[in-house]
Structure formats: C-alpha cells, structure tokens
Amino acid sequence: MSGMVIVGAGECGTRAALTLRADGYDGPVTLVGAETGDPYERPPLSKPDPDASPRRVPVATAERLSELNIDFRPSRTADRIDRAARKVHFADGTALAFDKLLLATGARPRRLTDPDDGHATAFRDFEDAKRLFVAPARRVTLIGAGLIGLELAAALRVRGHDVTVLEASDRALGRSVLPDLAGRIVARHREAGVDLRFDAAVSSIEPDAVLLCDGTRVPSETTIVAIGVVPETALAEAAGLATEDGIAVDATLRTVDPDIYAAGDCAAAAHPLYGRRLRVETWRNAQDQGMAAARNMPGAYTPYARVPWFWSDQYDLGLQVAGLPDEGAVTATRDLGPGATIIFSLSPDGRLVAASGLGPGNAVARDVRLSEMLIERGARPDPAALADPGVGLKSLLRAAGT
C-alpha cells in the first residue's frame, strides 16, 4: 500500500494530512514541502504586530506530525508526476509511489516582465517577511494596491517607513472589494501618510528608484512587487491534467485523473453554488479545501460548497468579505455603529451574493459570518430588512431555514 501523498506543505496540504489522521485513515501519509522547517501560516507574515518581528505560526510542528505518523519531508521539490506508475518524482532524484495524490502546490507571486523587476523583490514566505520587517526604517515602494500591497503598506507605515504605493489601475483592491469600502481604506492610508498613486505605470525599476512612464522618479530603497499571484500548475500541466486558471477539479476536488486531487490556491474547483469553477486565494479556502480533499481521497466524494470569505486588517480597520460582490446588481447598506458598515450585494433575482463589511477591529465579523450562512443557503432576504440594524441577521437566517 503506497497511501496518500500530499505535495505542498502549506496550510492546505498540512491540514489535509492532519484531517486524514483525525478521520481515522491509518495508511501511509507523506507530506512533502519545498520550504525548509515546519509548516506555517502565511497570513500573519503581512500583518506583524507593530513592535515585534514577524512570527512563524506553525500549522503543525514536525513533532506533532511525527506523533501522528505523518511522514513529513521538507525542502523537497516535486519534479514530475508519472500517472501510469502512480509516482511523484522529486528534484533530488527520489520518488514516492501513491494510491491517491493531493496537489496543494499553492501560488507564487506574479512578477513584472515589462519592465524587468530584477531590482524588486516579491513577498511570499517567512524569509521575505523577516528581510522586510527586521530592517531599520527606510523608503519602501509597493507596486500594486491589492490586499498584500496595502497590508504591507499599513504594517510598514506604522513602523515608521516612508511608504509609496503605485497602482497601475484607477482603484485599489480590484474586484474583491466594493469601491466604497476600497475608497475608505485608501483614505485611511493617506491619512496615515502613505503616498498612494493611481494610474501609475512603471517604466523601470532601478536599484534606488522606480521610474514611471510619465517621467516621475520615485526614490526607493526597497521595492516590492505585489501584483497578485499565479497558481502553481506546472506539475499538473506536465502530467497532462487539465488546467485553466488553476488545476481544474470537480466539486469533490478531483482532477480528471481519479487518483489525483488538487486543493487550495492552486485549484480551480467546480462550485455547486456558482455553477462554475472558482479559484480562491484565501487562508480559509486553503484550510477547508485541504480538509475536504482529505475526506474525499479515501472515498467520501462530498462536494465542497463553502462561500469564499476573507478578512484583512489595516491600521485600526478590519475588512471582511463573504461571497462574490461583483455578482451583485443592487446593494443595501447596514450601519453597525461608529465607522462600521456592511454592504450587502444582491443578484438581479434577489439572492444575497455578498456581504462586505468594514469597521474598527472585528466590529463587522459577526454579521458578515451570518451573511455568509445566508449566502450559502441561497437566501433572498428583503433588502429593507438587511439595511435595518434593528433586524437581527439571525432572525433572517431562521426565516431562510436550513
């Protein structure tokens, strides 16, 4: 018996290994990661405490994995999958046979190709975080006003760095955050002293500056490219597995090969609620899909149907979004008290499709979570009730049934 092999030891792969054991699978489980050291959570990397070094928060320690009889092999890069022989070959010349294989290869930062970004760095792993945050105050330029760019901008600014954010488009945070809320976050950055520029097309990156197409020179000692990520699909592609924007899997997270699954940032999974494939780049999705894959690999075949959800903390503001705001046609806004609001997005036929909340600390968390349950149930709540803070979302959830 070859057992379960998991390639990728981030949140998703590690959680899959733990879940196999928690659910009583007693065959061999091998967890292979490219990075050194114990598996760790990535979200804390871009939001370290203002007065502390970035923390490496373990998903599980090597000791714990060993107790669970999970064969954890860090620092190993998978090279190719031999589907006929059901083996994964590694760059160091070794190979592992599998009964079922989970690809939890994640995503890598997208780089700029024109201009060349050799004088910039990306932000992905614990070493990147240490380099960035353990250094003394200096001029930092972030290319890209997405979630990672803005979280880093906030974390660097509160530590006293001079921070410039250059965004090529005319707005921050792209499609995942409604313009109203993105605008409030941008205003908060500017109030904190971040130099945030839109329509800023980069023409070249020098060792000590970023040059813009309009001739502006932005002095920069450290330049970070934060323009999103690209799913790691090379292994799957080379093995002839279908890929689109991610490794294509069905709702049970299985690829076209019944013995190979994919989950987390690298997977484009058919979603029962949306009727199409979604690739979700969030911590919770990595965790939950890892767990779902671990249940399906031994034969559960349960569809994964959770609604996308993420949060971001910047300064004193907490953002939480459940669902897909860009599927909404109309909105209803609920005021949750000082500086806290939730914008509900409804489809043309009245289904709640997203809840986007912004407020101090975790002020919006509870209602966004309840909204997520409403979305999951396909509820069609009355927009007037959604907008009325006197109507508890729990009562709407009860009305929606289970």
Partner: protein, 104 residues
C-alpha cells in the same frame, strides 16, 4: 472566602450572544445561552489570541471572528480547527439580576 466578581446585568447580554468583560489585567467572554444560562470563558482564543466577544454564538458554540475556530463555551472544549487547545472556563451565578463570575 468569596471571589465572585460582579460582571454585568443579566439583560446586558442577549440570548445566544456574548459580551466582553475586562477585570484587572484579564479579559473574559460572558455568554448567555439560548435557554438563558450564563457562562464565562477566557476572552482570547487559544489559537491567535483574537477576542471571542466579537465572534458569533450559535447555540452553545462560540466561533472566533477571524479564523472560524470553535469552542463549546460551556466547557471550553475545542470544536473546530484551527483551535486544538481548550479555553479556560469559570463558574457563574445570577443574583438580583446581576451576573457574577468566579475567576480566582
């Protein structure tokens, strides 16, 4: 010897809800269950120290507002990953419309 601390009025907490209570250097979460019983746990989640009073109470479960970790607030037992370590719990009683907790 009595080390009961007056935490709040009964009606300061809605049924199936939670509030924060700070006492000295310590912070707690106080719950009112759907059947109007009161419970008290440590305020901070054992995973990433997020305050649970901002989380959602459903039946007897409190869920962390950031990572969806869950506990049964009656005994502090972990109910969903990423939490694996139990929450501390503290006795409560109601006297004259006030909720008291024993946190000695």
């Amino acid at each position: 010897m009595s080390d009961w601390v007056d935490a709040c009025a009964e009606d300061e907490i809605d049924a199936e809800d939670v509030i924060r209570f700070d006492h000295g250097e310590r912070t707690f979460a106080i719950y009112r269950s759907p059947d109007d019983a009161y419970y008290c746990t440590d305020g901070l989640c054992t995973h990433e120290q997020v305050h649970l009073a901002d989380g959602l109470v459903m039946d007897h479960i409190i869920e962390c507002p950031k990572h969806n970790g869950q506990f049964d607030y009656r005994d502090g037992a972990p109910k969903r990953v990423p939490v694996c370590e139990a929450l501390g719990t503290y006795p409560t009683k109601v006297e004259n419309g006030r909720v008291l907790i024993r946190i000695g």
